[in-house]
Symmetry: C2
Subunit: 346 residues, 2 copies
DNA sequence: TTGAAAGCGCTAACAC
DNA sequence: GTGTTAGCGCTTTCAA
């Protein structure tokens, strides 16, 4: 009745070697498809591995060679857009022998440092950092320790690769769409970026800049109206409240992220207004939420899956060739128009 | 200009020992707060650790002792309820030196096996399996290898601990609420469970059973109406379509999960009906989605955070004492009534 | 209280 | 093409 009397000793490479009547080196080589193994040997080893149910210990492997494990850090597990990226990563890696482990959702530099350290401590073969907020030097440090791909920042690092969408273009898609519908007072809710070093590469800051540029291009420079909050539902709610209280209320709100748009919709409903009759709303990320029929939110599609696939591909390439020059992929977003945007009230 | 010319050698316990002028054994002991270290020695070692920025290698640790890492497996990263549980786990472990790593979202037994194996391969100190679908014997196997807590199954295992909510009571809360409002034709959408071994412990099956019991208790045995699909948005959509096509349409739908309710709402909207005027809808899990003001879905709250905290606590207790008897915690759910439920149309 | 030394499971030189 | 051997960084006996 003792549940775990004897935690049975794990099958090791030595057991496999004995069972197959070869050396441990041979087993190791076969397992890694390394050079210098005869077909006969491979067959013997594979058979023994199967019969004994052997699995290599990633911990032991990590001390000498690879662990065949990729770490993925994502800031907020609740944001469905990140799940999309993750799907792409998973899809790309599913054909390989690499495993994935995720860091727990982390907000802020301290938590990010903790997560990346943990991944390094486990000697993961590479890490994918999704929308990190850490300083550039911190990312540099991580990348100098382990092959790294950064997703969602417009980086120009020579140390790590990056994948992001063209946020300037994405913001322009929204403004163009709203302007074409006849809107002039188009407001934007941004995630405030104070650190000047980060303004150049954080997507939120670039979306705001893209909004400004597009407004100017439409001759709407005087109508530029940005509220600075955070990319959260709460941020959208508070930001929208500010905008709705304006003497000349905007006729359209471009939220920097779908999660922000959720808060915006909530504030609008609470104010007794209707979307899109009284006010149009657009988001960014094209999450499942935006696609939810009763919501039907116009949103910028970043092709998260493709971003994830690209990130995984770049990482494997870097693992294979540590010195290869850094690649920086910019994917073009598209606009998915839905019922939350329409012509402004007259 | 070479980006990663020399990946600098990691600081090891030997470096710390030399710097502090003590033995590696001493360093190891201090790091683990082990018995037999003088205050003076501790001070010296701590100082050296800080000065050198030393971090223990989890990989190396894993070969002999603990890795101070907990693995959490969750089936679907998109379901916000799981994020809630995760928050609870994170909260409880934040006071400890344990780190968390998550498995990638997995659906199906094969994927679950892969994830748990990966965690074991990395010699994690313990694993928390959230709503696993694997067979009982498979869970037993995992638990006999590594301390395990299973979340969301009504298990009676002697090998692993478990935490779940009382799904019979949760279903009753919904039926009671709807019956009190005057509903009789209350339908239920369940996630189909065919494996007889699993019916007794899977929450979806127990919710369906709770629905049946509660309906009978209200004298509504003849109105029992269950559609079997899956716990997905698509499942809810298709299930609702079936129900709406009934000759005597139900006046209320109890979806087995909020994600299912999303699909239900979509089908209802598409059918040109209104919630709650034409039909009431209730969900299960009280996700952020249910709380979203424009939706305002009545839902059963499982106290996910508390579930996570309990799971983490049980796991640490088991890690400390491997032979302790298995504990099975059942938390009582509560009902959060919102605008999606009202009296039936007359 | 402290430290020397053996090994955890694996990979990588380097023989043969 | 194959096997022997020396570690990787850490924990853990076991002596001192």
């Amino acid at each position: 009745m003792r549940p775990r009397s004897a935690p049975p000793r794990r099958v090791t490479i030595v057991d496999v070697a004995q069972h197959a009547e070869v050396s441990t080196t041979a087993v190791s080589k076969v397992l890694r498809n390394a050079y210098g193994t005869s077909p006969a040997m491979r067959a013997k080893v594979r058979k023994a591995v199967a019969e004994l149910g052997y699995r290599p210990s990633a911990a032991a492997r990590g001390m000498r060679g690879q662990t065949y494990t990729i770490g993925v850090m994502l800031p907020d597990i609740r944001n469905p857009f990140f799940a999309e990226i993750l799907d792409g990563v998973t899809e790309w890696l599913s054909d390989t022998e690499y495993q994935i482990l995720l860091g727990p959702g982390c907000n802020g530099e301290a938590a990010e440092a903790r997560v990346t350290e943990t991944m390094i401590d486990h000697s993961m073969d590479g890490v994918i950092l999704i929308a990190p907020v850490s300083s550039r030097s911190r990312l540099q440090h991580v990348a100098s320790t382990v092959p790294t791909v950064v997703v969602g920042r417009h980086s120009h690092s020579t140390t790590y690769d990056s994948v992001a969408d063209d946020d300037i273009a994405g913001a322009a898609l929204v403004v163009d769409h709203l302007a074409d519908l006849g809107h002039r007072r188009i407001a934007h809710i941004e995630h405030l970026e104070t650190d000047p070093a980060r303004i150049a590469e954080m997507p939120n800051a670039i979306r705001a800049e893209g909004y400004r540029q597009a407004m100017r291009a439409h001759g709407l420079a005087d109508d530029i109206d940005i509220v600075s909050t955070t990319y959260t539902q709460q941020g959208g709610y508070l930001g929208a409240q500010q905008l709705l209280a304006r003497p000349r209320r905007p006729t359209a709100i471009f939220a920097g992220a779908d999660i922000v748009a959720m808060g915006v919709l909530e504030a609008i409903a609470q104010a007794g207004l209707t979307v899109p009759d009284d006010i149009s709303v657009a988001g960014y990320d094209n999450t499942t939420f935006a696609n939810f029929e009763p919501i039907s939110l116009t949103s910028v599609d970043q092709a998260g899956r493709e971003i994830g696939r690209s990130a995984a591909r770049l990482l494997l390439e870097r693992i294979a060739e540590l010195d290869k020059p850094a690649a920086h992929i910019r994917l073009s977003p598209t606009l998915v128009t839905r019922r939350s945007t329409a012509a402004p009230p007259r």
